[in-house]
């Protein structure tokens, strides 16, 4: 451990005046180097153990025959081959592809459009912003439960339309095996696009007005200005939005649980639910760990190229 600054300053008072600046200087440089490290070390240590340590443990468990309880005898890749044999795993993976792709795409488009519309110096902008951002304040469980009622044919939208006399109106995606995953997309987009809007709006506000004005003087129309100048300069915002949305998509558990519980049947199952059930209710810890590792690979496959691209951009200084 280092000596605390106060102890040293206490001693330096006893020293003669000539030495003090030197000591203080050395002390300052010492503190500059070490203080941040000391302050950060608990955080670094805990994240090392509780994030990377446990990722390592999960990786190891996925290479064992663990059933009800962890069992540390190594057994190679048998859990992975078993995992790829299970139809339900592929259903989950496909659903993640459908949900992740659509959710990210629609959130981006809707969020960006909302942000651009709000950026036109309209009245009551603050109120509108709050309204669009509000769903973010709910937990996914609440969102899921609410949309479950809205989309239930016997209780929600369909019944309401029938009561109003639209007898042919049909919205039964929630109870249709082929369409259930799209209801998850709807609820997810409803909850997250406001948040995406807020990020883009912040980015838009950061763009220098003089560029816009110069373009207007050159006779560019507003859509062209957005297309050629504004949106390209939002690149870093796109990056952070993608980062946030993709991890929301991959770890989505509570939303699906509350909305469809993976049903009808297992038609809207996602890897997170698969992992939970196999690890904790079916006594197949090794298999669950293997599916968790597959999810990690997915996250890495999405994020590593993104981070690399972003880092490259930053180096070239655009």
């Amino acid at each position: 451990m280092s000596v605390t600054p106060t102890a040293i300053s206490g001693r330096s008072q006893a020293d003669d005046h000539a030495q003090r600046p030197k000591v203080a200087q050395r002390l300052a440089s010492f503190a500059d180097i070490w203080l941040p490290r000391i302050v950060l070390s608990p955080t670094v240590l805990t994240s090392l153990i509780f994030v990377y340590g446990f990722i390592g443990l999960t990786a190891y468990l996925s290479l064992t025959e663990s059933r009800l309880m962890p069992n540390y005898t190594f057994s190679g890749f048998s859990q992975y081959s078993a995992l790829f044999e299970i139809d339900r795993w592929w259903v989950s993976a496909t659903n993640l592809g459908i949900f992740g792709g659509l959710f990210i795409l629609i959130c981006l488009v809707v969020g960006l459009l909302l942000a651009i519309f709000l950026d036109q110096r309209i009245r009551a902008e603050g109120a509108l912003r709050a309204i669009y951002l509000y769903p973010m304040a709910l937990s996914f469980i609440v969102t899921g439960a609410a949309w479950k009622w809205i989309l239930n044919p016997g209780l929600g939208l369909e019944k309401m339309m029938h009561d109003w006399g639209f007898a042919n109106f049909s919205m039964d995606w929630l109870v249709d095996s082929d369409m259930a995953i799209y209801t998850v997309v709807i609820a997810g987009v409803w909850q997250s696009s406001g948040f995406v809007m807020a990020l883009f709006l912040a980015g838009l506000r950061g763009i220098d007005d003089s560029i816009m004005k110069a373009a207007m003087v050159d006779g560019a129309s507003l859509p062209t200005i957005y297309r050629r100048i504004v949106i390209p300069s939002l690149r870093p915002v796109f990056f952070s939005v993608l980062l946030v949305l993709s991890h929301i998509a991959i770890k989505s558990f509570d939303l699906v649980m509350a909305l469809t519980a993976g049903g009808p049947g297992t038609s809207s199952d996602v890897p997170a639910i698969f992992m939970y059930q196999f690890s904790f209710t079916r006594g197949q810890l090794g298999l669950g760990a293997a599916s968790a590792m597959m999810m990690l690979m997915t996250v890495l496959a999405v994020l590593v190229p993104l981070i690399y691209l972003e880092a490259k951009e930053a180096r070239h200084g655009r």
Binding site: R67, G263, P264, G265
Partner: protein
């Protein structure tokens, strides 16, 4: 391996702290009986233990149909401080037995003559390698068909006793503009209907061969195909909003006269009685079509874990004896809607459905019609049961053919 040492040190420390807290004889019971009637039943057990001077340490973990409780249990067992007993049932008892953490309670069983008062099918489940490790608290019967007689009267149908009559009644109810079969499209409910249909179509011997022993020929044979065909036919009488519906909402549809019949275990009776309905008058408890000579049981039990000190072990045996005592079995099951697991409990306070359940249990335990419920984790280990449940859920919610279903079933039965 620094990390390992840190983990071991932490575990040792927790174990020490946990150990230091142990005072006089106490039992710590991990359970998920947290709903109204169940909590009342557990309070009875607590009273009985405290009357014997044993401290009751409640370790209730709600939610997830016991999943959360099991996760808590694993953490405790890994850290070397298992509770005295935990609510574990069926083949899971064997899974825990393999981990080598269960306590032998033969002493209590011999003293209480458990072998004589439990059907052999039941006592086998409570034993690991021939020794008692668990005490049963109740028996739920799963193969019931709950019927609203008013709906039958409106439709001009009569109470069904076999499949032909069942589908005839269902047709008439449908024609009357009501829902014939109240159902909630959740995997465990799909499995509940499936097992009653398999039992009704193929009989107990087929059920045991196919669903308990997972014999490949029976799993893919004509009887199983007929089972799925019957299921497919039942599907046509279920309303399309059933997906994801909770079982008690489906029961409410029968209670309110919106629907005619429901396949469900006897916990559904609690919903009827809570709504002020009388068994035999406002609702009928029939055995599922073709299963009157059979009985699918779902038995909750308290499984005992190895505890270190001698006082604790004594307290554990007292707990086991208390659980099996006729007094406790009566109170617990009156609250829960189930029937006692053991013979020799007074029947005076039970209703007609429970009495029928008791009579049938006695008869079927002699005739071999007493079979473990697959949908409720009594027949096969959780990995295989889960895989089979996935197949049934898929069949119930898609256009899968019966042929494809039996092939998928055979594949699922091989799940490790």
């Amino acid at each position: 391996m620094k990390l390992k040492q840190i983990v071991q040190a932490t575990i040792a420390a927790t174990a020490l702290i946990a150990g230091a807290q142990v005072q006089a004889a106490e039992v710590e019971v991990l359970h998920y009986w947290t709903s109204g009637g169940e909590a009342k039943s557990v309070a009875e057990l607590k009273k009985m233990m405290e009357a014997k001077g044993i401290v009751w340490k409640d370790f209730a973990v709600a939610g997830g149909g016991g999943e959360n409780a099991m996760t808590a249990l694993k953490a405790r067992v890994i850290s070397g401080s298992a509770p005295t007993a935990a609510q574990i049932k069926g083949p899971s008892i064997q899974e825990w037995g393999k981990e080598g953490v269960l306590a032998n309670i033969d002493a209590a069983a011999t003293e209480g003559k458990w072998d004589a008062s439990l059907p052999k099918v039941v006592s086998n489940i409570m034993k690991y390698q021939g020794h008692y490790v668990a005490a049963p608290v109740n028996v739920h019967r799963v193969n019931w068909l709950w019927v609203n007689p008013d709906v039958l009267k409106k439709a001009g149908a009569k109470a069904p006793t076999n499949w032909d009559e069942f589908f005839d009644a269902a047709d008439k109810i449908k024609k009357a503009g009501l829902i014939a079969v109240a159902h909630g499209g959740q995997p465990w409910q799909d499995a509940t209907v499936f097992e009653s249909v398999a039992l009704g179509v193929g009989g107990p011997d087929f059920y045991k061969k196919a669903i308990v022993q997972l014999d490949p020929a029976s799993l893919t044979g004509p009887t199983m195909i007929k089972t799925f065909d019957t299921l497919a036919k039942i599907k046509t009488y279920i309303d399309k909003d059933a997906a994801g519906r909770d079982w008690n909402l489906a029961t409410a549809m029968v209670i309110n006269g919106k629907a005619g019949m429901q396949f469900m275990g006897d916990w559904a009776k609690g919903e009827f009685t809570a709504a002020g309905k009388v068994a035999g008058k406002d609702f009928l408890c029939l055995t599922a079509p073709g299963t009157e000579k059979a009985f699918t049981f779902n038995i909750d039990s308290l499984t005992m874990f190895k505890v270190k000190d001698a006082d604790q072990q004594k307290a554990q045996l007292v707990l086991a004896s208390a659980v099996m005592s006729p007094e406790f079995q009566e109170v617990f099951n009156l609250n829960k809607g189930s029937i006692p697991a053991r013979a020799g409990v007074s029947r005076a306070k039970f209703d007609s459905c429970a009495i029928k359940s008791m009579d049938d249990m006695d008869a079927t335990s002699k005739s071999g019609g007493l079979v473990p419920s697959f949908a409720h984790g009594m027949a096969i280990d959780s990995a295989k049961a889960g895989a089979i449940q996935d197949v049934i859920a898929k069949f119930m919610n898609s256009t899968m053919t019966s042929q494809a279903a039996v092939q998928a079933l055979a594949k699922a039965a091989k799940a490790k």
